[in-house]
């Protein structure tokens, strides 16, 4: 229940791909060996321009202070985003990220971390902001992820209130149209397959929260799949916040029965209680919510990583030999198309799993005594 099979499946797929990919590339190199040497290409000369795969992948997966669209040579097309920094010593400073000139220049006592800073201090992360004098500060910038989230919320707002208006204007006995038609089965699905089975009679009270979880996660998963999209749901801060909201709701509505069952499980010998109670407390109050946050984060993170890795493969092999690069590109593109479809599915599945588990855990916490069969033990 706690460990989803999603991660192993993805790991397996990557492994398979890597093995298969290398076999393929070996074959490609063998047959294309002659032209490469004939051109007299020196692999070390290429090495200077070699792309840093780790940098590329994590650069895409990480949050950023500007929304990078594309780069041609030294020209970087990116949308600057507001930087909001609060330092207890230097006070508040608000400016656009374009003031850093893509990390090349310091501004207002701050600069973006670059390779030289990392060489000096490996704990630093490229693209983040550091203060020149080393003083402590808090970063409240409107980053790429924040902008992406605001866009997703605006989309949700117009979609959902638009549908709500249709219900109001058309009355309940008219067939739904347009987006309303697309949303209705999803809402019905959350209601009939998530809320009702686990929350019982009180399901209606939790429906708005569950629906917000579902649609927020889903739409952000999908937006993250767009080229240049932000990796919002694959960011631990976001999944942690979602889990925290769920956790507060769960605790606020938990019943005496739930606590009694956890702290003093009936019908169990004293000796076993000493082992069981800490496990139960740990399970209910830490592992379950943490698993919820980590599962969503890890799944989306892994999906993005795989697709980016596939894309990087083309350039890795391209750097070895152009022909190998083209050869691998066919394979990489085909496989990443497959991965995109898989991720489309995962986007909905993970939204469903998060919502579903939130409903299950809340259901366990709000259980009243008269339910004899309970699933509180794992």
């Amino acid at each position: 229940m706690i460990f989803t099979p999603k991660i192993p499946v993805k790991a397996l797929l990557t492994l398979l791909f890597v093995i298969f990919g290398f076999a393929f590339s070996g074959f490609a190199q063998e047959t294309e060996n002659h032209p490469v040497t004939a051109e007299g290409r020196d692999p070390h000369a290429e090495g200077e321009k070699k792309l840093n795969v780790k940098e590329v992948i994590f650069g895409h997966i990480r949050d950023a202070h500007d929304w990078h669209l594309f780069s041609v040579g030294d020209f970087h097309a990116s949308l600057p985003l507001p930087v909001i920094l609060y330092s207890p010593t230097n006070g508040l400073s608000v400016f656009m990220s374009s003031k850093f000139h893509h990390g090349h220049e310091p501004y207002n006592g701050y600069k973006m971390v670059d390779e030289h800073d990392i060489a000096a201090d490996p704990t630093l992360v490229k693209g983040k902001i550091m203060s020149l004098d080393g003083s402590k500060f808090y970063d409240f910038s409107i980053t790429k992820n924040v902008v992406s989230m605001l866009i997703s919320l605006l989309l949700l707002w117009f979609l959902l209130t638009g549908s709500a208006k249709k219900y109001k204007n058309n009355g309940i006995n008219k067939a739904p149209t347009g987006w309303q038609n697309a949303l209705e089965p999803v809402i019905g699905f959350v209601q009939d397959n998530v809320a009702k089975p686990y929350l019982g009679k009180q399901y209606l009270k939790y429906m708005p929260l569950l629906l917000t979880f579902f649609f927020f996660i889903w739409i952000n998963n999908l937006l993250g799949l767009l080229p240049g999209g932000a990796n919002l749901t694959g960011n631990i801060a976001v999944t942690l916040l979602l889990t925290l909201v769920f956790f507060v709701v769960m605790l606020a509505n938990s019943t005496k029965y739930f606590w009694g069952h956890m702290l003093n499980p009936p019908g169990i010998p004293m000796g076993i209680k000493f082992i069981l109670v800490p496990i139960e407390i740990l399970s209910n109050l830490l592992i379950k919510p943490a698993a919820l946050a980590i599962r969503l984060f890890a799944n989306i993170f892994a999906g993005h990583t795989i697709i980016l890795s596939l894309m990087c493969m083309i350039f890795i092999f391209g750097a070895m030999s152009k022909v190998a690069g083209f050869g691998v590109s066919l394979f990489s593109v085909a496989f990443s198309v497959f991965m995109f479809f898989l991720e489309l599915l995962v986007a909905a599945i993970q939204a469903f799993i998060f919502t579903n588990l939130a409903a299950v855990f809340i259901g366990q916490a709000i259980e009243e005594h008269h339910h004899e069969e309970h699933g509180a033990h794992h």
């Binding site: 992360v125 409240f140 924040v146 989230m149 707002w157 006995n173 429906m207 927020f216 631990i236 909201v245």
Partner: protein
């Protein structure tokens, strides 16, 4: 490793945006949508149950109608039978009465006939008497000459009358 550490800024903005979005959506989207869906579900269930009820009522009415029809049929046969009985009774009564009347009339007629016969007899006797007297008178007038013969004659006459 930094990917596993939540960033404060993003956490803060997500919290703010998510919670605001949640409360706004709850009020302006989920509540109306869920009520609409719930109302529709209820109205569909209601229509189905009312249709079911109508159906039951219809079948009820049908059986009631049938019962009424049967009753009416029975009543009709009963009435017909009664009418027939009454008719028979009336005919019988009429026959009876007619018989009685007829016998009465016959009896009366008989009586009258008897009376008239008696009267006629009396009349005849009277006439016969006067005839006898007349004859006797004639005989007596004639007998003055032939007394013995006449007496015989009278005797025979008298015997004849007696025989009548």
């Amino acid at each position: 490793m930094d990917l596993l550490l939540p960033e404060l800024g993003l956490f803060f903005w997500t919290a703010l945006a998510f919670l605001i979005a949640f409360f706004l959506l709850k009020k302006f989207a989920w509540k109306p949508i869920l009520t609409a869906l719930h109302d529709r579900e209820k109205s569909i269930a209601d229509s189905i149950s009312s249709a079911e009820k109508m159906k039951a009522e219809m079948s009820n009415m049908k059986s009631e109608n049938e019962m009424l029809l049967n009753q009416a049929r029975e009543e009709r046969t009963l009435m017909l039978r009664e009418a027939k009985d009454t008719k028979d009774k009336m005919i019988n009564e009429a026959k009876e009465q007619a018989k009685e009347e007829a016998s009465k009339i016959i009896a009366e007629a008989r009586e009258q006939i008897e009376q008239q016969k008696n009267a006629a007899l009396i009349d005849v006797k009277n006439k016969m008497g006067s005839l006898v007297i007349e004859v006797a008178e004639k005989v007596i007038r004639k007998e003055l000459s032939n007394k013995a013969e006449h007496e015989n004659y009278i005797k025979t006459l008298a015997n004849e009358i007696k025989m009548n």
